[in-house]
Symmetry: C2
């Protein structure tokens, strides 16, 4: 007997028929003797509709009222899911966040979960019931409803899984797992059997939008084993893991220790529309980086890669960084306006870069990944504009037009291609 | 300074633009120095959509889950109304039923309000805030959300008004008051300045669907002065009562004592599609009426007029009653099936009757209203099939084809026609 928290995203509860299909996945787990708690998102599109109404009501409005309005979406799906499960003979009841309670701080619109009382959930599951909880929301110390911000339902599911000490947390979505790279670019992309939390974090932040970063961080901190799987699969099909063995049909996101054979590279990711900006001959003194990136942060511009070379003469240096293409003009303007506090000789840059990254926990113990990456790209005649590295990731910025070619080349180079494709 | 509870129905909050228009009515009261609490319905059509989904999920389902789903509608409008009011410079916050709290019993789907704690509402109103409360719902002793059943928002508003000791409760809807009769039938119908609770109860139950009966009963019991008025009126127009004097532009539903000049007849109502059924030679013994109407109640058939004549011979009697045309066949079948327990010689009946009623508290002290009604109908050659009377109402069943003629004749006969129309 395992205890499982399952979470259904918006497309998995888009209408009553989809809710019924998702409920059959719950039934399969119950029939197998497991204990299940369900966490649901709002019907797909519903949250956008509600958010749209709050904006129409007033462009700037009280976040507490935003939360009161927007939290209604999950309430609907939780009730409907409980009805459908009961109809299938599985005793079930719905909970709004405040009823569990899922306690949060009072940062309305982007609240953080502080505490979940597992008592009622424990009692119900031990008695064979399936609690169905609204994702994305909780209750502040003031007694008002809070929401966790976009993608918060994944975070709710992980937090509930931690609170009830679940053996795993199945995130049902409209894709069937995490792939070595985007299958639209590389048809030979493989679905991963397992991926380490750290790798998933790098993948998530690099554009593999399967799981929200925040939920992966929480899962890693709370040691909650996550599974990314599809609610569109036949609920009654044999349960086969991506590697062909009996198991959970999806990708397990887990602690590194649980992964026996660590790949040097687990995945290749791509982020397009990156603009690069270079400041030449920046006065090399303490505080200059803070001044530059402070000016950008003031404009809510998110900076991605940052590279600073050692200065030749010890007096000036060049600093290069990337921003989304859409923020390029704003970023250049911000730096020109801040010209007095940041001394530099010249600003240059261009849009249309592509960031390619290879990710893998195996890199830690394996030298030469970066150099082999550069070699693989050089063989295709692709010029590298920028390089950044972290413990488990190496990223390069290249010209946009070579992006797909680069991803395919690296995918093959690191032995990630599916053999039978 | 007055304290006013205002309630906006579904058409008054159908979209953000309508919510804004309704909020301007609140602003007018605040600007005039009054204290206001708002009660809102769900956007029109929204509750039907939610109810539809619960039925699609399972034809028979847990009423607690139905409530969890359906209660979400008012949450949306309460939050949006609070946002719009704040945008207008009126400090405001929304409350779900459980947050006030509005306590109810646990009869999910048709709960009764047991208690409303006015503390927070009092504090907010005294500080110049406008609380906005979800109508139609509350919280059961179990902590689960309840709904009050259809039209429950009117009841919520009256209950809140009683709890905060409001001077009046303005029910904003899409009509501008209560009329002497249906203006579509009688163009000369007049909007009433005032109407007594008892009269409103008779009018409401007779097809003038402006207010839910239950809310009028509660208002009468709690002595809450109700006003029926339109949210579609210009919020900034001079406030003129129906009699042309400065005042609230709508119909005040109040205690009889507040009405100086009591009309003998305040209104004429019409209910069409009434079928009549007669049981001949029913054995006249104790329990026979209970057996007949019990058999109908078992089939959820609502019986309206009931007439039993004194039996000629003391042994048998004729019983006639009316049911909606749509229940006629089911009613006849139910009585035939129950034939053994109810002894009668013959069953007969027909569809297509119309019930015409004249209503007025003045009848109590004024003899001869019934006979004058029969005379007025006789003058038009209209045959009366059935008669029932109460303290403040006389109803007759006539052939459907004379319905409009009868209403117009009685409206004129009792001096209700507008003089300038």
């Amino acid at each position: 007997m395992a205890r499982i928290v399952v979470k259904f995203g918006g497309t998995s509860v888009a209408n009553v028929e989809r809710i019924r299909q998702s409920a059959r996945h719950v039934k399969r787990e119950i029939d197998a003797g497991h204990q299940v708690t369900v966490v649901v998102s709002a019907m797909s599109g519903k949250t956008n509709e509600l958010v749209g109404w709050t904006r129409e009501a007033a462009p700037i409005h009280d976040a507490r009222e935003y939360d009161a309005v927007v939290a209604s979406g999950e309430q609907v799906t939780a009730g409907l899911m409980a009805i459908v499960l009961s109809e299938m003979g599985i005793p079930s009841r719905s909970f709004s966040g405040w009823q569990v309670p899922i306690r949060t701080d009072d940062a309305h619109g982007a609240a953080r979960i502080t505490d979940i009382d597992p008592t009622t959930l424990d009692e119900l599951m031990n008695a064979g019931w399936v609690p169905v909880i609204t994702g994305f929301q909780g209750v502040a110390p003031s007694g008002r409803v809070t929401t966790l911000g976009r993608g918060g339902s994944d975070t709710s599911a992980v937090a509930v899984a931690a609170a009830v000490k679940a053996d795993r947390c199945d995130i049902y979505t409209d894709v069937d797992g995490v792939y070595t790279t985007d299958p639209r670019i590389v048809p030979k992309a493989q679905r991963l059997n397992k991926i380490a939390f750290e790798e998933m974090l790098e993948m998530a932040s690099l554009g593999a939008k399967v799981l929200m970063i925040r939920s992966v961080e929480l899962a890693m901190a709370q040691k909650v084993r996550l599974v990314v799987r599809s609610s569109f699969d036949d609920p009654d099909a044999p349960q086969i893991a991506p590697d062909g063995t009996p198991g959970v049909p999806g990708t397990l996101v887990c602690d590194e220790d649980e992964i026996m054979e660590k790949q040097i590279v687990s995945g290749v990711t791509l982020a397009k529309a990156e603009a690069k900006i270079t400041l030449r001959d920046v006065k090399d003194r303490p505080g200059v980086a803070a001044a530059i990136f402070g000016a950008l942060a003031d404009q809510s511009i998110v900076v991605d890669m940052i590279v600073q070379n050692i200065s030749d003469d010890g007096a000036t240096t060049d600093i290069t960084f990337t921003v989304p293409d859409s923020d390029y003009d704003k970023a250049v303007r911000a730096l020109q306006d801040a010209g007095d506090s940041i001394e530099y000789s010249r600003i240059s840059g261009s849009k249309g870069g592509a960031k390619i990254s290879v990710v893998g926990v195996g890199m830690r113990s394996h030298a030469g990944v970066a150099s082999s990456m550069f070699k693989a790209l050089a063989e295709k005649g692709i010029n590298i504009q920028l390089i950044t590295t972290s413990e488990i990731k190496t990223s390069v910025l290249i010209d946009d037009q070579y992006a797909e070619l680069a991803v395919r080349a690296l995918h093959t180079y690191y032995g990630l291609d599916k053999q039978d494709a």
